[in-house]
Symmetry: C2
Subunit: 219 residues, 2 copies
């Protein structure tokens, strides 16, 4: 038994001042990231980590995928660790040692359960669709019963989670501030390009307003 065995597994050991356990911060990072990585121990005892989309409603995280997928067959009712990270910038310190990135990350632990009922699946799919691009759910063709059946949806409470956030500039060793070396940060962000309409749109089908709004908010 390791000395840390009685410590909650989501508590941060290293650089604890970067850690935050508030649902609000955790939720904001989950909302800001498109893809998470779901780690699970597979049938052969190996760790497996698979990227997938996620959506959050309040203190519940949703995952979805094909009912036939290995991840969704494996993850239900097992212990998983879900992590998602946004990179916000490069941090160029005077020393190689203190180079870093600014980032926001979350790590969640838990045991997801499958949603079996149609209404529950439908609500989760609404959350995924509206997260992808707000306004889309009402506009798109709603899921048919056989599509709901082909979609596995997992639900997990967000009650064992950590956020880690680094912001700001470089932090160098005191003596390195005397060096004639440039230091600073380079901000990074995700932007949306010009929407590309499908080749087979019916005549007269215009780009919806929410698509332009999404792009303008990320230009």
């Amino acid at each position: 038994m390791s000395p840390a065995a009685d410590k909650p597994r989501h508590r941060v050991s290293r650089v604890p001042d970067r850690a935050d356990y508030d649902l609000e911060t955790v939720g904001e990072i989950l909302d800001a990231t498109t893809v998470c990585h779901v780690a699970v121990i597979d049938d052969r005892g190996f760790p497996v980590s698979i990227p997938t989309l996620h959506a959050r409603v309040g203190s519940t995280l949703f995952l979805h995928g094909s009912s036939a997928s290995r991840l969704f067959r494996t993850a239900a009712r097992r212990e998983v660790c879900i992590s998602a990270t946004a990179v916000d910038g490069l941090v160029l310190a005077r020393s190689v040692f203190h180079h870093s990135v600014n980032y926001r990350s979350v790590v969640l632990f838990g045991s997801p359960e499958a949603i079996e009922d149609e209404d529950g699946k439908n609500e989760a799919l609404r959350a995924f669709t509206e997260k992808l691009i707000p306004g889309r759910w009402e506009d798109a063709r709603q899921p048919a019963p056989q599509e709901l059946k082909a979609t596995a949806v997992l639900r997990m409470p967000i009650d064992e989670a950590t956020a880690k956030v680094r912001t700001g500039g470089a932090v160098d060793e005191p003596e390195d501030y005397e060096l004639p070396i440039w230091a600073g940060t380079v901000p990074l962000r995700t932007v949306a390009g010009e929407p590309i309409p499908d080749d087979r749109l019916l005549d007269g089908v215009a780009e919806p307003g929410y698509v332009g709004e999404y792009r303008d908010a990320r230009s």
Copy 2:
């Protein structure tokens, strides 16, 4: 024993036409992503997935972190799964069911080993620094012996890896092409903002050319 137990763990079961096992494709995605997620089974038997930076040289992946970090204490000589994903766009289909994202992802399996010698660590740190921003290594203050000691570097061969890539537009059910619903893609990309110089730069220390080049290549 599961029916798939004799199948290599990095072989893709679902949507195999999106899968690619070439080192070239795997390497390009590793180079294009800043952060990966390292999944490992912790001392208590739980899967744990932690974000960290990665760098690649040829067919070797490097990870680095504090010698005191839980991840680096845990991951050396254990089985890990490392995944990294870039999201390239939203795919808005006519049906909710066929909404997707364009992405490039890699999943690697293996067992990293710690690099103990100074030269080996130094070479790996050069790769990290030059990946963050090409040109930086020669400009920054090089690692001191005690900094190399405080840095754990892990090395893993990239020999059990899968890339998955989705590109292109929406793919709808045949009958849905008759619906008056807009469909298309919204490209996403990462851009760099204006570099922010450190408050404590010495007089006369100008922004290096490679910083401007990095920004211009991502504007």
